[in-house]
């Protein structure tokens, strides 16, 4: 079975695995915030990690991204978009908060 336009064949097991993992990765950050189980900084870090992992879970199990079956150009496109996103979000925050800090002096 060779793929041309996206990832691996959609399978019931793949969707159900993704759904269970996504539920877990949603329940953890919401639970941490609702019951205030951790200090603020630790909670923020946990939310961030859960979000990144859940995005990867969605890409793998719902969008069926796969390093062997997804065509190279689709992977290149998402890698390039990821690079742009990191530069733009990271760069904006760096510049703007540096500016805030300088204005406060």
């Amino acid at each position: 079975m060779v793929s041309k336009s996206a990832g691996a064949a959609p399978e019931l097991r793949s969707y159900l695995t993704g759904f269970c993992l996504a539920l877990l990765l949603t329940a953890i950050p919401f639970g941490l915030v609702a019951f205030e189980l951790l200090p603020r900084t630790a909670t923020l870090i946990a939310i961030f990690i859960a979000a990144i992992v859940q995005i990867l879970v969605h890409l793998r199990y719902f969008l069926h991204l796969d390093f062997t079956e997804t065509p190279r150009e689709n992977l290149l496109a998402i890698a390039f978009a990821g690079l742009l996103i990191v530069i733009m979000i990271g760069g904006s925050l760096w510049i703007m908060f540096d500016l805030y800090a300088r204005m406060a002096l």
Partner: protein, 203 residues
Amino acid sequence: MTLSTATARATEKTAAEEAGFENRAFGFWLYLMSDAVIFALLFATYMVMVGNTAGGPDGKALFSLTNAFAETMLLLCSSITFGFASLALVARQRAAVQIWLLVTFILGAGFIALEIREFTGLVAQGAGPDRSGFLSSFFSLVGTHGLHVSFGLIFLAVMLLQVTLRGLTPQAASRLYRLGLFWHFLDIVWIGIFSIVYLPGVL
């Protein structure tokens, strides 16, 4: 084997048609990546503006964790029900495709209903997009996502009608495949929204 190639085989499309569908899938993928860049900029704007409340209410005063959780669950469930529709499409079960598309539509409409209720509630208590930089960026980010979901609902309704009237044609299968990419993509953007807007806001 992808959805589009699976259905291609089942309906004996010509090679040229199949290449056309593959190109459209790739083109749609590129569109989604550019859309991701737009959302990334809206996220960056929100993160910069989140403290600029101009003396108005902040996230802690405005956001409801319960509402955000309900929206998250509706969207996540609609993602899995769309997955079931995709599986039914590969299995060539027309009735199952229709049912799962309808369920997905209802869940998506529920999400939009909750979002509209939240937005009108905010505006009614004087926390509209004109109140502060924080609220402008909040409405831009979450509103853009809501508009995408609304267009997804129109797309879903059109495809439901098309499958009902014409059956699981190769064209419908190819469009459903792209709609699936769009729908799952919107759920990914929502992960960013609840993780960056609602949870830190309520905290």
